[in-house]
Amino acid sequence: MDQDPIIRILLADREPLFREAIRMVLDHEPDLLVVAEAAKGCGAVALAEELLPDVAILAADLFDCDGGGLVGMIGDRAPACRILVLAPAEDQNVLLAALESGAAGFVTRTSPLNDLILAIRAVHRGEAMVPPAMLGPLLAALIRRRREQAAVLQRISMLTRREREVLVLVRRGADSRTIADELVISPETARTHVQNVLTKLGVHSRIEAAALIGPDDLLDGLVEMGP
Protein backbone atom coordinates (compact mmCIF):
# COMPACT_ATOMS: atom_id res chain seq x y z
CA MET A 1 0.00 0.00 0.00
CA ASP A 2 1.37 3.40 -0.95
CA GLN A 3 -0.41 5.36 1.70
CA ASP A 4 0.60 5.35 5.35
CA PRO A 5 -2.43 3.92 7.19
CA ILE A 6 -1.56 5.68 10.45
CA ILE A 7 -3.02 9.14 10.96
CA ARG A 8 -0.37 11.19 12.78
CA ILE A 9 -1.91 13.70 15.14
CA LEU A 10 -0.78 16.90 16.84
CA LEU A 11 -2.84 17.65 19.95
CA ALA A 12 -2.86 21.22 21.29
CA ASP A 13 -4.76 22.11 24.44
CA ARG A 14 -3.95 24.10 27.56
CA GLU A 15 -4.90 21.35 30.01
CA PRO A 16 -2.38 18.51 30.52
CA LEU A 17 -4.97 16.19 32.01
CA PHE A 18 -7.28 16.66 29.03
CA ARG A 19 -4.43 16.12 26.56
CA GLU A 20 -3.31 12.99 28.35
CA ALA A 21 -6.80 11.55 28.41
CA ILE A 22 -7.37 12.25 24.72
CA ARG A 23 -3.96 10.85 23.82
CA MET A 24 -4.67 7.62 25.70
CA VAL A 25 -7.95 7.16 23.86
CA LEU A 26 -6.59 8.05 20.42
CA ASP A 27 -3.48 5.90 20.76
CA HIS A 28 -5.78 2.97 21.44
CA GLU A 29 -7.18 3.26 17.92
CA PRO A 30 -5.18 1.19 15.41
CA ASP A 31 -5.07 3.94 12.80
CA LEU A 32 -4.43 6.95 15.05
CA LEU A 33 -1.20 8.10 16.70
CA VAL A 34 -0.59 11.26 18.70
CA VAL A 35 2.90 12.32 17.65
CA ALA A 36 3.09 15.54 19.64
CA GLU A 37 1.34 17.63 22.26
CA ALA A 38 1.41 21.38 22.76
CA ALA A 39 0.05 23.55 25.55
CA LYS A 40 0.33 26.82 23.63
CA GLY A 41 -0.46 27.97 20.13
CA CYS A 42 3.11 29.01 19.37
CA GLY A 43 4.34 25.58 20.41
CA ALA A 44 1.72 23.96 18.20
CA VAL A 45 2.91 25.97 15.20
CA ALA A 46 6.54 24.95 15.78
CA LEU A 47 5.65 21.29 16.21
CA ALA A 48 3.42 21.30 13.13
CA GLU A 49 6.27 22.72 11.07
CA GLU A 50 8.75 20.20 12.46
CA LEU A 51 6.66 17.03 12.44
CA LEU A 52 4.15 17.71 9.61
CA PRO A 53 1.27 15.82 11.25
CA ASP A 54 -1.71 14.63 9.20
CA VAL A 55 -4.24 16.16 11.57
CA ALA A 56 -3.91 18.89 14.20
CA ILE A 57 -6.49 19.12 16.97
CA LEU A 58 -6.45 22.68 18.25
CA ALA A 59 -8.36 23.95 21.25
CA ALA A 60 -10.23 27.11 20.27
CA ASP A 61 -8.99 28.98 23.34
CA LEU A 62 -5.42 28.77 22.02
CA PHE A 63 -6.40 31.16 19.24
CA ASP A 64 -5.84 34.17 21.50
CA CYS A 65 -2.07 33.61 21.59
CA ASP A 66 -1.65 35.21 18.18
CA GLY A 67 -4.88 37.07 17.49
CA GLY A 68 -6.77 34.31 15.79
CA GLY A 69 -4.28 33.38 13.11
CA LEU A 70 -3.20 30.07 14.61
CA VAL A 71 -5.09 27.95 12.09
CA GLY A 72 -3.66 29.96 9.21
CA MET A 73 -0.11 29.80 10.61
CA ILE A 74 -0.23 26.03 10.86
CA GLY A 75 -1.80 25.84 7.41
CA ASP A 76 1.11 27.90 6.03
CA ARG A 77 3.79 25.78 7.68
CA ALA A 78 2.19 22.36 7.22
CA PRO A 79 -0.10 22.72 4.18
CA ALA A 80 -1.14 19.06 4.12
CA CYS A 81 -2.15 19.09 7.78
CA ARG A 82 -5.92 19.02 8.27
CA ILE A 83 -7.01 21.11 11.24
CA LEU A 84 -9.78 20.17 13.63
CA VAL A 85 -10.86 22.86 16.08
CA LEU A 86 -11.97 21.76 19.52
CA ALA A 87 -14.31 24.35 21.05
CA PRO A 88 -15.92 24.56 24.50
CA ALA A 89 -19.42 24.72 23.01
CA GLU A 90 -21.37 25.13 19.77
CA ASP A 91 -20.45 28.73 19.05
CA GLN A 92 -21.33 29.90 15.54
CA ASN A 93 -18.78 32.73 15.55
CA VAL A 94 -15.93 30.47 16.61
CA LEU A 95 -16.98 27.93 14.00
CA LEU A 96 -17.13 30.50 11.21
CA ALA A 97 -13.79 32.05 12.20
CA ALA A 98 -12.17 28.62 12.35
CA LEU A 99 -13.46 27.53 8.95
CA GLU A 100 -12.60 30.84 7.31
CA SER A 101 -9.06 30.51 8.69
CA GLY A 102 -8.76 27.16 6.97
CA ALA A 103 -9.88 24.62 9.57
CA ALA A 104 -11.41 21.46 8.12
CA GLY A 105 -13.60 20.56 11.04
CA PHE A 106 -15.12 21.59 14.35
CA VAL A 107 -15.89 19.46 17.38
CA THR A 108 -17.05 20.55 20.82
CA ARG A 109 -15.76 19.37 24.17
CA THR A 110 -19.29 18.28 24.95
CA SER A 111 -19.22 15.72 22.12
CA PRO A 112 -18.76 12.01 22.80
CA LEU A 113 -15.19 10.82 22.32
CA ASN A 114 -16.33 8.72 19.40
CA ASP A 115 -17.38 11.90 17.56
CA LEU A 116 -13.84 13.20 17.89
CA ILE A 117 -12.42 9.96 16.51
CA LEU A 118 -14.87 9.99 13.59
CA ALA A 119 -14.08 13.65 12.95
CA ILE A 120 -10.32 12.97 12.83
CA ARG A 121 -10.84 10.25 10.24
CA ALA A 122 -13.31 12.38 8.26
CA VAL A 123 -11.08 15.44 7.98
CA HIS A 124 -8.14 13.20 7.12
CA ARG A 125 -10.22 11.79 4.23
CA GLY A 126 -10.68 15.35 3.04
CA GLU A 127 -14.19 15.90 4.33
CA ALA A 128 -15.48 18.95 6.21
CA MET A 129 -16.77 18.15 9.68
CA VAL A 130 -19.36 20.31 11.41
CA PRO A 131 -21.74 19.37 14.25
CA PRO A 132 -25.08 18.52 12.55
CA ALA A 133 -27.06 21.08 14.55
CA MET A 134 -24.69 23.84 13.42
CA LEU A 135 -24.78 23.02 9.72
CA GLY A 136 -27.96 24.98 8.84
CA PRO A 137 -26.95 28.19 10.67
CA LEU A 138 -23.43 27.85 9.23
CA LEU A 139 -24.69 27.64 5.64
CA ALA A 140 -27.00 30.58 6.33
CA ALA A 141 -24.03 32.58 7.66
CA LEU A 142 -21.94 31.71 4.59
CA ILE A 143 -24.79 32.84 2.33
CA ARG A 144 -25.16 36.10 4.29
CA ARG A 145 -21.41 36.70 3.99
CA ARG A 146 -21.50 36.11 0.24
CA ARG A 147 -24.42 38.53 -0.16
CA GLU A 148 -22.55 41.18 1.83
CA GLN A 149 -19.46 40.71 -0.32
CA ALA A 150 -21.55 40.92 -3.48
CA ALA A 151 -23.09 44.17 -2.24
CA VAL A 152 -19.63 45.58 -1.51
CA LEU A 153 -18.37 44.57 -4.95
CA GLN A 154 -21.43 46.20 -6.48
CA ARG A 155 -20.54 49.47 -4.78
CA ILE A 156 -16.87 49.15 -5.69
CA SER A 157 -17.81 48.58 -9.32
CA MET A 158 -19.11 52.15 -9.40
CA LEU A 159 -15.57 53.45 -8.82
CA THR A 160 -13.25 54.44 -11.64
CA ARG A 161 -9.98 52.54 -12.03
CA ARG A 162 -8.08 55.44 -10.41
CA GLU A 163 -10.50 55.50 -7.49
CA ARG A 164 -10.03 51.75 -7.00
CA GLU A 165 -6.27 52.29 -6.90
CA VAL A 166 -6.87 54.93 -4.24
CA LEU A 167 -9.15 52.58 -2.32
CA VAL A 168 -6.51 49.84 -2.25
CA LEU A 169 -4.03 52.33 -0.79
CA VAL A 170 -6.60 53.57 1.75
CA ARG A 171 -7.18 49.94 2.78
CA ARG A 172 -3.44 49.63 3.37
CA GLY A 173 -3.49 52.67 5.66
CA ALA A 174 -1.94 55.22 3.29
CA ASP A 175 -2.54 58.92 3.98
CA SER A 176 -3.13 61.49 1.22
CA ARG A 177 0.58 62.28 0.93
CA THR A 178 1.46 58.60 0.48
CA ILE A 179 -1.36 58.12 -2.01
CA ALA A 180 -0.12 61.15 -3.94
CA ASP A 181 3.45 59.80 -3.98
CA GLU A 182 2.36 56.29 -5.00
CA LEU A 183 0.13 57.45 -7.84
CA VAL A 184 2.32 60.44 -8.83
CA ILE A 185 -0.46 62.97 -8.35
CA SER A 186 -0.79 66.05 -6.16
CA PRO A 187 -2.00 65.70 -2.54
CA GLU A 188 -5.04 67.81 -3.43
CA THR A 189 -5.95 65.43 -6.25
CA ALA A 190 -5.41 62.50 -3.91
CA ARG A 191 -7.77 64.05 -1.36
CA THR A 192 -10.38 64.63 -4.08
CA HIS A 193 -10.13 61.00 -5.16
CA VAL A 194 -10.48 59.84 -1.55
CA GLN A 195 -13.56 62.02 -1.08
CA ASN A 196 -15.11 60.64 -4.28
CA VAL A 197 -14.40 57.10 -3.13
CA LEU A 198 -16.06 57.72 0.24
CA THR A 199 -19.09 59.32 -1.41
CA LYS A 200 -19.57 56.51 -3.94
CA LEU A 201 -19.16 53.83 -1.27
CA GLY A 202 -21.62 55.62 0.99
CA VAL A 203 -19.21 55.80 3.93
CA HIS A 204 -18.03 58.71 6.02
CA SER A 205 -14.40 57.93 6.73
CA ARG A 206 -11.34 56.11 5.41
CA ILE A 207 -11.65 53.66 8.29
CA GLU A 208 -15.20 52.83 7.25
CA ALA A 209 -14.05 52.38 3.65
CA ALA A 210 -11.24 50.06 4.74
CA ALA A 211 -13.59 48.08 6.97
CA LEU A 212 -16.09 47.79 4.14
CA ILE A 213 -13.57 45.96 2.00
CA GLY A 214 -12.70 43.67 4.86
CA PRO A 215 -9.97 41.07 4.55
CA ASP A 216 -7.15 41.33 2.05
CA ASP A 217 -8.58 38.65 -0.20
CA LEU A 218 -11.15 41.11 -1.54
CA LEU A 219 -8.31 43.37 -2.60
CA ASP A 220 -7.03 40.77 -5.02
CA GLY A 221 -7.90 41.94 -8.48
CA LEU A 222 -9.79 44.96 -7.16
CA VAL A 223 -8.02 47.42 -9.42
CA GLU A 224 -8.52 45.24 -12.49
CA MET A 225 -12.15 44.40 -11.85
CA GLY A 226 -13.83 47.10 -13.89
CA PRO A 227 -13.40 49.66 -16.64
Binding site: P132, L135, G136, L139, A140, R146
Partner: protein, 78 residues
Protein backbone atom coordinates in the same frame (compact mmCIF):
# COMPACT_ATOMS: atom_id res chain seq x y z
CA UNK B 1 -36.69 15.12 12.57
CA UNK B 2 -39.22 17.39 10.84
CA UNK B 3 -42.84 17.61 11.91
CA UNK B 4 -45.55 18.52 9.41
CA UNK B 5 -48.31 20.11 11.53
CA UNK B 6 -50.91 19.74 8.75
CA UNK B 7 -50.52 16.04 8.16
CA UNK B 8 -49.20 15.29 11.65
CA UNK B 9 -46.44 13.30 9.96
CA UNK B 10 -42.90 13.01 11.26
CA UNK B 11 -40.08 12.96 8.70
CA UNK B 12 -36.66 11.62 9.59
CA UNK B 13 -34.02 13.39 7.54
CA UNK B 14 -30.24 13.48 7.70
CA UNK B 15 -28.27 16.52 8.87
CA UNK B 16 -27.66 17.86 5.37
CA UNK B 17 -31.33 17.58 4.42
CA UNK B 18 -32.33 19.31 7.66
CA UNK B 19 -29.83 22.09 6.98
CA UNK B 20 -31.14 22.59 3.44
CA UNK B 21 -34.71 22.59 4.74
CA UNK B 22 -33.74 25.34 7.22
CA UNK B 23 -32.50 27.40 4.28
CA UNK B 24 -35.86 27.14 2.51
CA UNK B 25 -37.00 30.48 3.86
CA UNK B 26 -38.56 31.85 0.69
CA UNK B 27 -35.58 34.15 0.24
CA UNK B 28 -32.56 31.96 -0.29
CA UNK B 29 -32.00 30.79 -3.84
CA UNK B 30 -31.04 27.26 -4.74
CA UNK B 31 -27.80 28.51 -6.34
CA UNK B 32 -26.85 30.22 -3.07
CA UNK B 33 -27.29 26.93 -1.20
CA UNK B 34 -25.09 25.18 -3.75
CA UNK B 35 -22.38 27.84 -3.55
CA UNK B 36 -22.32 27.73 0.26
CA UNK B 37 -22.06 23.95 0.36
CA UNK B 38 -19.27 24.02 -2.23
CA UNK B 39 -17.44 26.62 -0.15
CA UNK B 40 -17.79 24.52 2.98
CA UNK B 41 -17.01 21.10 1.57
CA UNK B 42 -14.83 21.81 -1.45
CA UNK B 43 -16.99 19.38 -3.44
CA UNK B 44 -17.40 19.88 -7.22
CA UNK B 45 -20.12 22.37 -8.11
CA UNK B 46 -21.98 20.07 -10.51
CA UNK B 47 -22.14 17.27 -7.92
CA UNK B 48 -23.51 19.57 -5.22
CA UNK B 49 -25.92 21.16 -7.67
CA UNK B 50 -27.41 17.79 -8.55
CA UNK B 51 -27.58 16.67 -4.92
CA UNK B 52 -29.30 19.87 -3.77
CA UNK B 53 -31.75 19.72 -6.66
CA UNK B 54 -32.65 16.11 -5.86
CA UNK B 55 -32.98 16.91 -2.17
CA UNK B 56 -35.31 19.86 -2.84
CA UNK B 57 -37.46 17.67 -5.07
CA UNK B 58 -37.63 15.04 -2.31
CA UNK B 59 -38.58 17.66 0.29
CA UNK B 60 -41.22 18.96 -2.10
CA UNK B 61 -42.57 15.46 -2.73
CA UNK B 62 -42.80 14.93 1.03
CA UNK B 63 -44.78 18.17 1.35
CA UNK B 64 -42.08 19.78 3.47
CA UNK B 65 -41.58 22.77 1.21
CA UNK B 66 -43.66 24.66 -1.30
CA UNK B 67 -42.38 26.49 -4.36
CA UNK B 68 -43.33 29.88 -5.59
CA UNK B 69 -42.31 31.80 -8.70
CA UNK B 70 -40.77 34.55 -6.62
CA UNK B 71 -38.93 32.31 -4.23
CA UNK B 72 -36.76 29.85 -6.11
CA UNK B 73 -35.89 27.78 -3.05
CA UNK B 74 -39.46 27.50 -1.84
CA UNK B 75 -40.55 27.84 1.73
CA UNK B 76 -41.56 25.60 4.57
CA UNK B 77 -45.31 25.20 4.79
CA UNK B 78 -47.02 27.20 7.56
Amino acid sequence: MLHDPESEELHFVNATAAAIWELCDGDTEESEMVDAICQLTGMPHDVVEEDVSTLLRDLDAAGLITWSEETPAGAAPP
